[in-house]
Symmetry: C2
C-alpha cells in the first residue's frame, strides 16, 4: 500500500533532490522566454478576436476602429514592458509587483497586489486551458463531449510536469512556443507579401455581412465611446502575464536582472509584432466574426449548424490556401498547444508568489516548503485544485471565464508603477551622481506614465466588465486579502506568545512529577508502560483504570494482586461508557490540588502493521492524547508495543506524506514553521 | 463548530443515558409484536402478488395452482414458527439462529448463518423500503421522480429513530402496524361476507385476459413443476423476519422466553390469517396481474399508459367499492406505512447480531459499543449505510432487489433447525425425567421436520433464483464469512501476543533512560520541554536539532549559548529537507549501540484552539510521533504548551466523536477492546 504510493510518486515526480541541487535548476534565456512568455504570446490567438467580437455588435460599421484600438493596445504594451524593465533592475529578488508595492506603498498595498495576482494566476490557468481545449475541439470536433474532462486532464498533466521541477518544464515548453512564434510570423510575412503583390488573402467569412444588434446599431456619443472602450478592454487580454518575468527573476541565470530585462524586451517585441501582424491580416482578409452566427447575413446554410472559425484559423486558412493546407494545420496545432502551455506561466508564478507571501507570514508555512524536486509543490497543487474546480464549475467555457480575467493584472500594474515612482523619489533624495540621477529621472518618468496609463485602463476594465462577471474576481481577491491579513495576525500573536522572556525561570524544573499509567487490562504493553514509568523516577506513581463494567474492574484488580504489582491501582467509574472525559477530569482534579506539580500520563499502546488492522481497534488513545494536550501542566507519554505485524510497515522511514521539507537554503529565518513544534 | 455538532446530535438522538438505565428499555409484548412482526406481516402485501406474477407467465391457465401454493406457504410458516418457539425457550440469550448453529454445529456453521443473516437484514431494509415507496407512489404518482430520494430519506428517518433507543421505536411503530392488521382483517371479513351473500367483489382487472409468454405457454412435466416451484419460492417471502423474535429475546420483559414465544405464536397466527384472506379474496375477485401490462388482453387503453395496481390495492378497491372509497385509502396508507416500518425489524436485529458477533471477536469491537441512548449505534449506522447504497445502486427497484432476498433466511432456518435437533439429542442423553424426555422428543421431531422442510425450500430457492440475482447475495455472504474468519484470527493472534507471560521480568525497569528533546527553535514550548525532561531524571539528556538550513542552525546554537542552557545541543543535517527520517535514524543508531537502554523522545508542541489554526502550522509532530511508535525501545512524550486561543476549545471535555463507550454491563470479558491500549 505504502510502497505503491511511494512508487507512483517517484514515477510521476522523479527522484528526490538535495537542497544543494537548487542552483542547477536555474534557467538560461532561451528556456526562460518560452516559460514566462507563453502566456502573453498566446493571447495573440484571441486578443484580436475579442476586439472584433465587441465591435461587430454594431454590425460592420465600427470595424474601422480596429486599427486604432490595436494601436492603443500596442502603445500600452510598450509602456508596460518599459515600466517592468525598471522593476526587474530595481528588485531582482522576484517579488515583482508585490514586493514593489509593499516596499514603497506599505504592506496593505502589497497585499492588494498579491491578492489580485493570485486570483489572476488562477484565471490564467483556467482561461488558457479552456481556450486551448476550444482550439483542439475546433480541429477535432468529435472530442466536444469531453471538454471538461480534457481541460481537467491538461491541468493534471501541467501539475505533474511542474512538480518535477523548474528546468524540465522549460524544456517541455520551449519547442511548442518557438513553433508557435515561427509559424505565426511566417504566416504574417506570407500574407503581407501576397498583399504586396496584389494577391490579398480573402477570409472565408469576407463575403458575409453582419446585422447589428438592435441595441448597438447607430451608436453615437457616449454609447459609441463605451463600445470602443469595451473592445479596448477585451484587447487588453494581450497584456496578461507580462509581469510574470518580474516575479521570476530568481529563476534566471546570472546576471539575473540583465537577462530578465533582455528576455522581457524580446517578449514584448515578439508579442507586438505578432499581434499587429494578425490584426492587420484579419483586416486585409476581411474576417467577419460575431458572437452569434445567426447575425451573419448572406449565409446560405442554417446558422445553427454553421461554426465560425477563430480569427487566427480564418487568417491561416486564407493565407495558406484553405483549411486543408499544411500551413493551416501547423498554425492551428501550435496555437492549441501554446494556449495549453500558457497556463504554465501561472504554474511558475503562483507558487513563487505564494512562497514569498508565506515567507512574509501572509499564507500558511506549508506553501514555503520545496518538494522532493525542489519545486514549491504545495503552491502548485493549490493552484491546480482551484483552477480545476473553476474549469469544472464553468464547464471550461472561455466566454464565461474571460470576464473574470485581467482585472488583477491591471490592479498590480497600477500599484507597482506607483510604487516605482516612490522608489525613484527615494533614490533621488540620496543619489548625487549626475549620470545616475539622470537615469533615475527618466525611469521615474517611464513608471509615472505607466502608472497613469494602467490606472486608466483599470478604471475602463472595471466599468465595462464588472457586471459581466468581474465582480466575482473582485470578491475573490477581497476574501483572499482579508484571509491573508488574518493569517498574518495569527502568526504574529503566536510568535509573540511563544517568545522566551525569562530563560532561567522557564528552565526551572517543576516541583514534583506525578505519574499516572492508564490501564485498560493487563497485557504486555501495560507492563512495559509501568516499567518505563517507574524508570522515570516520578515523585508519585499510580495506575488508573476507567471502568465501564464493574465485573471487569474486579477481575483487573484480582489479576493486579496476583501479579504482585507494587503500584497502587485506582478505578474510576464511567456510567456514560466514556473514557476520555473521566481521565481528563481526574488529571484536572490533581492539578487543582497541587498546581505547581506536573502530571505525567503514560499511555500503553500497541502498534499494528496494516492500515486495516487499525479499523479493528479503538482509536481512543489518539483522541485521549489530543484532549490531554489541551490540559495545562500535563505531559503525555506513549509507550508503544510493536506487534510482529508492525515490523513490515516499519521499513520505509519518513519519505512519506507529512514528512516535512523546507526550501530556500538561504531564506530569511522565520517563525514556528519547523517540525516538532506543533501538535494535536 | 464543535458545539453545533453536539447540539445537532442531542436534537436527533436525545440526552445521553447511563448504563444503569438499560433495563428501562425492555419491551412489553404489545410493543414487541409490532417491532418484530412488522416484517413478516407486511410481506402479506406482496407475497400473494409474487405468486401470481410467476403463475401468469403462462397466462391464466395455471392460476388454479394458487391455493395449493398458498397452502404450502402456510404449512411452511406453521412449521417454522413452531420450530422457532423451541429455539426461544432453549436459547433465551438472543443469539437466535447464530447461537443455535454455532453451539451445536460448530463455529463454522454459526458463521455461515451469521453471514447469511447479516446479508438478509440488509435486504429486508432495502426491499421493504423500496416496496413501501412503491406503494406511496401508487397513491401519489406525482412523487415518482423522487423514488430514490424518498427511499434513502426513509432509511435516514429509521436510523434516527433507532439511534434514540429501543423503546421509543416500539411506540413509533405500534400504531401503524396495528392499523395495518386491523384494516386488512376488516377487508377480509367484509369481502368474505359479501361473497357469502352472493355479492362477490370484482377486481378491476377481472375482465382482462393474459396472453402467456411464448416460452411459458402449454408447459408440462418438469417445466411446469419448475414454474410452480418458482411461484412457491416467491411466495416464501412471506417468511422473512420470522426468526427476528428469536434474535431479540433479551429485549423482552421477563419472563423473556415465554413472552417471546407467545408473541411469536400471535405473529404466526395473524400472518397466516392475513395471507390466506388476501389470497382467497384475490382469487374470488379475479385479480389478473402480469409482469408486463402489454400481455393483458381486452385492454382498450394503450398498455404503456396503463398502470396495474398491486394485488392488495385491487382487492381493497373491489371490496370497499372503488378507488375513491375511504376503506381503500385506509388499507393503502396502512400498507405503505407498514412496509416502510418493516425495515425496522432489521434495525433491531442487525445491530444486535453484529454486537454478538463482535463480542465473539468476529466483527470489530466498535460494533459492540452502546451509544448515548444505549442502542448499538455503530451497527445501526453500518446497516443504514449499506442499505442506502443498495437502494441507490438499484434505484429502489423492488423487482431487482427481491431476487437477492430470502436466501439467507432459509440458510439460517435450515442450519439452526439442524442445530436444534443436535441440541435435543444432547439433552436426551442426560435427561431422566420422563415428562421432560417426552417434551424433548416432540421438540426434536418438530425441529427435525422444520430442518428438512426449510432445507428443501433452500434448495428450491437456490435452484430457481440463483441466476436471477441471488448469486450476489451468495457472494456477499461468502465475503462476509471470509472477512469474519480473518478478523477472528487477527484478534486471536493479537491477544496471544499481548498476554503477560512473566510478570516480574516484564515489570523490570530498563537499565538506563536516554532522553532526547527535539528542538526546532528556542521558544517557550522548547524551554518547558527541556525543564520537564530534566524533571524526569534521565541517565543522559541531550537536545536534538534537525537542520535544513545551516544559517538557522548557527543562529540556534548562538541563542542556546546566550541563554546559558546547560543541555548539550546536537545538530543533524537533513539535505532532503525532511525531519522525520533523521530523527528516527538517530534514535535507531542509539538503540543499536545500547540495546538494553530506552530512548525517551520529548517533543515540545503548542496547542491552538481552532481547527483552522492547525492548517497554519505543520502537522509534522503528529507524523513524527506515529513513526516513532514503530521504533522499538522508544517512549514518546508530548510536552504541550497551550496558546491562549486553546482555552476556548478546552471547555467541552470528551463527549465527542472518538470518545469510547462500552455496552453490555454484564457482558463476558473480552479482548483488547478497551481504551488506552491502542495507538495509531
Amino acid at each position: 500500500m505504502f510502497n505503491m504510493t511511494a512508487l507512483l510518486k517517484r514515477l510521476v515526480i522523479g527522484r528526490a533532490m538535495r537542497s544543494e541541487e537548487l542552483h542547477e535548476t536555474l534557467l538560461p534565456k532561451r528556456l526562460a522566454l518560452p516559460i514566462f512568455a507563453s502566456d502573453p504570446l498566446s493571447s495573440v490567438a484571441y486578443a484580436t478576436q475579442e476586439i472584433l467580437l465587441v465591435l461587430t455588435l454594431g454590425g460592420l460599421t465600427y470595424l474601422h476602429f480596429t486599427p486604432w484600438i490595436a494601436a492603443a493596445v500596442v502603445a500600452l504594451m510598450t509602456v508596460v514592458v518599459l515600466s517592468y524593465r525598471q522593476v526587474v533592475y530595481a528588485y531582482p529578488s522576484g517579488g515583482g509587483s508585490y514586493e514593489v508595492a509593499s516596499t514603497n506603498l506599505g504592506p496593505s498595498a502589497g497585499l492588494v497586489v498579491a491578492a489580485s495576482l493570485l486570483v489572476d494566476y488562477v484565471m490564467t490557468v483556467a482561461v488558457s486551458v479552456a481556450s486551448g481545449v476550444d482550439n483542439v475541439i475546433s480541429a477535432l470536433p468529435e472530442l466536444a463531449p469531453h471538454r471538461v474532462l480534457m481541460a481537467v486532464g491538461f491541468v493534471a498533466v501541467l501539475t505533474a510536469i511542474n512538480l518535477r521541477g523548474v528546468r524540465e518544464s522549460g524544456r517541455a515548453f520551449a519547442a511548442p512556443t518557438y513553433l508557435f512564434i515561427g509559424s505565426v510570423l511566417i504566416m504574417v510575412v506570407t500574407g503581407l507579401i501576397r498583399y504586396a503583390f496584389g494577391d490579398a488573402p480573402v477570409a472565408e467569412s469576407a463575403a458575409y455581412g453582419i446585422a447589428p444588434q438592435p441595441s448597438d446599431a447607430h451608436l453615437a456619443g457616449l454609447a459609441l465611446v463605451m463600445l470602443v472602450l469595451r473592445a479596448f478592454s477585451s484587447g487588453c487580454t494581450a497584456l496578461t502575464g507580462v509581469e510574470a518575468i518580474s516575479n521570476g527573476v530568481p529563476a534566471f541565470r546570472k546576471p539575473k536582472s540583465r537577462n530578465a530585462a533582455a528576455t522581457m524586451a524580446a517578449m514584448g517585441t515578439i508579442a507586438v509584432v505578432m499581434f499587429v501582424g494578425v490584426t492587420t491580416l484579419a483586416l486585409i482578409s476581411k474576417v467577419h466574426l460575431t458572437d452569434d452566427a445567426c447575425r451573419l447575413t448572406g449565409l446560405e446554410a442554417d446558422c445553427g449548424s454553421y461554426t465560425q472559425r477563430t480569427v487566427i484559423a480564418q487568417v491561416a486558412a486564407a493565407v495558406f490556401g484553405g483549411e486543408h493546407s499544411i500551413g493551416f494545420f501547423v498554425v492551428q496545432a501550435a496555437t492549441a498547444l501554446v494556449l495549453i502551455l500558457a497556463a504554465n506561466t501561472a504554474f511558475n508564478g503562483f507558487p513563487m508568489l505564494a512562497s514569498i507571501l508565506s515567507r512574509d507570514r501572509y499564507l500558511p508555512h506549508q506553501l514555503h516548503n520545496r518538494g522532493d524536486r525542489l519545486a514549491f509543490s504545495n503552491g502548485i497543487l493549490a493552484l491546480a485544485v482551484v483552477a480545476g474546480v473553476l474549469l469544472w464549475g464553468y464547464k471550461a467555457n472561455v466566454t464565461s471565464l474571460i470576464h473574470l480575467y485581467i482585472l488583477g493584472v491591471f490592479t498590480s500594474f497600477t500599484l507597482s508603477q506607483l510604487g516605482m515612482v516612490r522608489h525613484w523619489n527615494q533614490e533621488l533624495r540620496t543619489e548625487r551622481d549626475p549620470v545616475l540621477r539622470r537615469r533615475h529621472h527618466s525611469a521615474r518618468a517611464i513608471n509615472a506614465l505607466g502608472g497613469c496609463v494602467t490606472g486608466l485602463v483599470l478604471v475602463i476594465v472595471l466599468a465595462t466588465k464588472f457586471t459581466e462577471g468581474a465582480w466575482l474576481a473582485v470578491l475573490a481577491a477581497t476574501v483572499l486579502y482579508v484571509m491573508m491579513r488574518g493569517i498574518h495576525r495569527h502568526y504574529d500573536t503566536t510568535s509573540e506568545e511563544l517568545a522566551v522572556s525569562d530563560p532561567a525561570a522557564e528552565l526551572t524544573s517543576p516541583s514534583r512529577v506525578l505519574a499516572i499509567v492508564l490501564v485498560a487490562r493487563l497485557h504486555k504493553p501495560t507492563m512495559r508502560a509501568l516499567a518505563y514509568a517507574r524508570a522515570a523516577h516520578p515523585d508519585h506513581l499510580e495506575a488508573l483504570n476507567v471502568s465501564v463494567d464493574r465485573d471487569e474492574a474486579a477481575d483487573l484488580r484480582e489479576q493486579w494482586d496476583a501479579y504482585g504489582i507494587d503500584v497502587p491501582l485506582k478505578v474510576v467509574d464511567s456510567p456514560y461508557r466514556e473514557v476520555t472525559r473521566p481521565v481528563v477530569e481526574y488529571v484536572r482534579a490533581i492539578r487543582r490540588e497541587s498546581p505547581r506539580d506536573i502530571v505525567a500520563v503514560f499511555i500503553p499502546e500497541y502498534v499494528v502493521g496494516h492500515w486495516w488492522e487499525n479499523l479493528l481497534h479503538n482509536q481512543s488513545a489518539l483522541w485521549l492524547k489530543s484532549r490531554l494536550l489541551f490540559t495545562p501542566g500535563v505531559m503525555v507519554t506513549s509507550v508503544p508495543w510493536q506487534l510482529t505485524s508492525s515490523a513490515r510497515a516499519n521499513r520505509p522511514v519518513g519519505r512519506a506524506p507529512g514528512s516535512v521539507r523546507r526550501g530556500e537554503p538561504r531564506g530569511p529565518a522565520s517563525g514556528e514553521r519547523r517540525s516538532g513544534t506543533k501538535g494535536r
